[in-house]
């Protein structure tokens, strides 16, 4: 088996918003083209925000 280059060492605790911090304001269009302000849309509820590569590949 050929040796593959190693994965970079990533510390996800330091990448992106940290635990305990306020998640920054994000406003983006949704699949209907309506602008969604994330914090306004969750309307005082909890939220799960998933980041993924692409819906098309």
């Amino acid at each position: 088996m050929s040796t593959r280059p190693p994965l970079p060492v990533l510390d996800f605790a330091r990448i992106g918003p940290a635990i305990g911090s306020h998640f920054p304001d994000v406003s983006l269009p949704n699949q209907q083209g309506e602008i969604v302000d994330l914090h306004a849309a969750r309307d005082g509820q909890r939220a799960l925000i998933v980041f993924h590569r692409s819906a098309s590949w």
Partner: protein, 266 residues
Amino acid sequence: MELQRSLPDYQRAGIVLFAVSYDPIEVLAAFAAKHGITYDLLADVGSHAIRALGLLNEHIAEQHAHYGVPMRDHVRGVPYPGSFALDQNGIVVGKWFEQSYRVRPTAVWLLEDGFGGESTLPRAVAEATTAEVRVSAWLSGRSYRPYQKLELNLEVDVPTGLHVYGQPVPDGYTPLTVAVESLDGLEVGPLELPAPRPVHFAELGETLPVHKGTFRGQLSVILLKNLGPVNLSVRVSYQACSDRSCYPPGEVTVALPLEGLDNVRD
């Protein structure tokens, strides 16, 4: 899609779902229509929000080289794959990221472990009892897809008056260990157990780490390919003892039936 199936459970727990990618609105609209997705898919065309949040994957070329995936231009601008849990005040209370774009936790796992919610989707459950212990095991679902990270939960019930050994123990003692029978492309994560309590045994003249009563452990399970229906066979080895005497080392096996599914592709 996987999150969509759990959407009612998320709504019941008061959790709003958002998914962010760099896809244009039309791609998201087609994807949502095809898979019946009703939660918000957000279009971060140009990856401006992804970049502002510090989530732009700057190591994509190295990761692709490691996984043996050819590097293509369209992958520039992708975020690191992962999720954030926010509380009612918008504070980040959970964060789960992976190096690989294929590995991801299930929606049920995020709901139950990340938010303390409860899934009503069917799950694989198995239980077995020996003279000394009862072991039950369950998985976050009844099916798997390649590279999906499933959570295997174990509950061990040791009757009053008995204990089992934790780790580390000197030679001659059998600590509680869990082994998942190997399958082609099966990856099993480390077992997480509550810390055993050190107990001094005067008759042995030793202090040993023990587990008593009912306790739970977790480990992650990933199948790299769809093998069709499989039985995930989980063997728990232990030695049960009272303060005065020990049973011989024992083991108990539970089998969790799982349906194999292919990944959803557009």
